[in-house]
Amino acid sequence: MFDMLKIRINQGSQAIKDVRKAVIPLPFRGFPVISPQECKGDNKACNACLEGCPTNAIHINQETRKLSIDIGKCVFCGDCVRNCKENKIAFSNFHKIAATNPNTLVLEAGMTPEDFYSNAIKARDQIKKIFGRSLKLRQVSAAGCNGCEMELNACSNVNFDMQRFGIEFVASPRHADGIVITGPISQNMSFAVEDTFNAVPQPRIVILVGSCAISGGVFASSPALNREFLEKYPVDLYIPGCPTHPLTFINGVLDFLGQ
């Protein structure tokens, strides 16, 4: 009894007070800032960043010789930063990197986190009206590495305490307003993803979490995947990361709900 009291007093309150304003300290790799200058090299771009990138996330425009990075593919490994001799790429700790349109995830040279954030999420009035005060989600894990799953679990722990916003993961798809998919979706799991989605009553939403779900990530070229589900059904929200940080997830969903 006294031990318990001692433990509780020792712990105090662990919750992050303002999840909307919380900052993840560097060296966390969030939004990558790309230099607006063109790549010099000898007579063309040197391609060192491209060649070392495990997911083909980097693109060099051969005319303007400027870089862009698709953060739907990027796994935030940071290798390109070290591979570039001219320091063209630097990861900031800005973590609010969710978007409603996948094209927004392609970051152009010179783009700032503010440029990105100001139009990444288009909150729809209808979504706000229906789900704004309570959103129940069913998570489906489909062939990732369990990293995003651990972070999604962390969203409900004493630190992040996502339930305070009325957002919750539920056990049955019948009780859910949508599904959250993690992982690149294997052939072996594809039917279960679709079955789960179809068990969710309408109206319903689809959220993709992590590079694997958004683009296949490091597994994109594997013949063991089956991503037809994503061609069949519209996706409402893309939340990048590898794995997606709990603050990225919670803020992404809150912005999507217009809160």
Binding site: R29, S141, N153, A224
Partner: protein, 504 residues
């Protein structure tokens, strides 16, 4: 000579590996197993360009007392059959199933010849995840409970089929494969293209809770094959990374176990303490799970003076909180009645089926790669094996509690004696041609092995991965027998096995 002797992280030429006829191959493995050796790897390599039916089957047996590994091989054909080793030595059961699934090589009289993961390159395509051949049990008071692949929480997919008599589990069958995404073949394709480096990010994504274990195994294998000795300081920091991973996951698991027995204070406190640990990893390398921390040639993130004192201060708080909570939890009668004698895996069974790692040590099996097949910084700073005897949920929980404190002490020691020098050594990515290397690491879950074979040009011909879960899932199935079906979540949590590590 029937085999070539080698050690963890050594390179052998493929020409030196004996190629035995089937009967001699089986006789050799039988003899080895009778003399206290155990299979670490057993897998096939399609012959040359995959155009013939021939498969070279490699076997790697470990003699843990002398830190030696013996490699031998045998030429078999797809569709061929040989007398199963599992009958006598159950530790081979999962390897033989895998070989059967991938190449159609039949271990005759194998008692449990079922699919492992429905590999996309499997020989028999009519066998798929929808028609897994479950065992059935019939009788008036018997019933089956089917769960998965989608479970109630945020968990990886897998299917569990319980055959119960009332509340009691007679038998549990575990069907996996949903997480299969072809990891091994991605390494092999990438290695072949030549242009690209071998993606260590892929190794980091074999099991997201064992990033450091798998990335270290991958890095060590590549470094051995390209004759690169990493700086001692880098080896020390890799040791810190691996132990930090162990501490973080173990604390999280204690929280999860507490949650499953409705001991909510334990869940809250361990949960919050785990956050401190993984945020320490973030403070060093930018990722809560250690992504980006291990690279070929060393570690790109050094630990400077200010970081060193921050890590130390955080770990002191972690230690304090874990001990305060742990002492209370493990002396509470309410907790103990739920943990003790639940989900027992007896010593002999654990040993026979080839259990590894923390779960094996909780059943008194003396295995720990860090001391048996020492590598990296563990050669300079030895680790002593810890075992418990009871093999129940309590043992698997309590051994974590001990290991957390041991690992914290180990990190203190490394921080106080951090070798000077660089943390990265430039590495020329040209792998020794026609060679093989075995890289073993003791992750928090257990023995993590990457075996690499290169071809004549020094490309990767085979990248074989073994996550400890590959052995240990069967241990879970045995441990729940004769327990109440409602105890399954607790027993499952006490093993905390990886689906993606098994499915690859």
């Amino acid at each position: 000579m029937s085999a070539i002797q080698t050690r963890n992280n050594r390179v052998v030429s493929r020409e030196d590996i004996p190629l035995l006829p089937i009967d001699q191959f089986c006789a050799f493995l039988t003899d080895q197993s009778n003399h206290g050796k155990r299979p670490v790897m057993f897998f096939g390599l399609p012959f040359e360009d995959r155009t013939t039916d021939e498969v070279i089957v490699y076997s790697i047996m470990a003699h843990d007392e002398s830190s030696s590994l013996s490699i031998t091989s045998c030429l078999m054909k797809r569709g061929e059959s040989y007398p199963s080793l599992t009958q006598q030595f159950p530790a081979f059961h999962i390897f033989e199933r895998e070989l059967f699934e991938q190449f159609g090589i039949t271990p005759a009289l194998h008692p449990w010849l079922k699919p492992v993961r429905f590999d996309y390159r499997r020989l028999d395509e009519s066998s798929n995840i929808i028609n897994y051949p479950f065992f059935h049990m019939e009788g008036e008071e018997l019933h089956e409970v089917a769960v998965g692949p989608v479970h109630a929480g945020i968990i990886e997919p897998g299917h569990f089929r319980f055959m119960c008599h009332g509340e009691r589990v007679h038998h549990l069958e575990i069907q996996l494969g949903y997480q299969h995404r072809g990891v091994e073949s991605l390494f092999e394709f990438n290695g072949k293209k030549g242009r690209r480096q071998i993606p260590i990010q892929l190794a980091e994504s074999i099991a997201g809770d064992s990033v450091i274990a798998h990335a270290s195994a991958c890095a060590q294998a590549i470094e051995s094959l390209s004759h690169c000795d990493i700086p001692l300081r880098a080896a020390a920091i890799r040791g810190i990374a691996l132990e930090l991973e162990r501490i973080g996951i173990h604390i999280g698991d204690l929280g999860a176990i507490a949650n499953d027995i409705a001991y909510l204070t334990g869940n809250a406190v361990f949960g919050a303490t785990r956050t401190l640990v993984i945020n320490t990893s973030l403070a060093i390398c930018g990722s809560r799970f250690g992504r980006g921390w291990i690279r070929f040639g060393g570690v790109p993130f050094d630990i400077d003076e200010s970081l060193r004192s921050r890590i130390r201060a955080t770990l002191e708080k972690v230690e304090h909180d874990v001990v305060l909570m742990g002492e209370t939890m493990f002396s509470s009668p309410n907790v103990l009645t739920r943990l003790e004698k639940t989900g027992i895996l007896e010593h002999q069974k654990a040993k026979d089926i080839g259990m590894v790692g923390m779960a094996a040590r909780a059943s008194g099996v003396q295995l720990d790669v860090r001391s048996d097949h020492s590598y990296g910084i563990y050669k300079n700073f030895p680790i002593y094996k810890i075992t418990l005897e009871s093999g129940d949920v309590f043992a698997r929980a309590y051994i974590r509690y001990i290991e957390i404190r041991k690992s914290i002490a180990f990190i203190y020691e490394l921080l106080d004696n951090l070798p000077q020098g660089n943390t990265m050594k430039p590495i020329e990515m040209s792998l020794a041609p026609n060679s093989m290397t075995i890289s073993m690491v003791e992750g928090w879950r257990g023995e993590t092995v990457h075996a690499l074979i290169t071809d004549k040009e020094g490309n990767i011909a085979r990248y074989k991965i073994k996550d400890p879960s590959f052995h240990n899932w069967f241990g879970l199935a045995l441990a729940v027998r004769e327990n109440g079906v409602s105890d399954f979540p607790l027993v499952n949590k006490s093993f905390n096995l990886s689906y993606c590590g098994n499915d690859l």
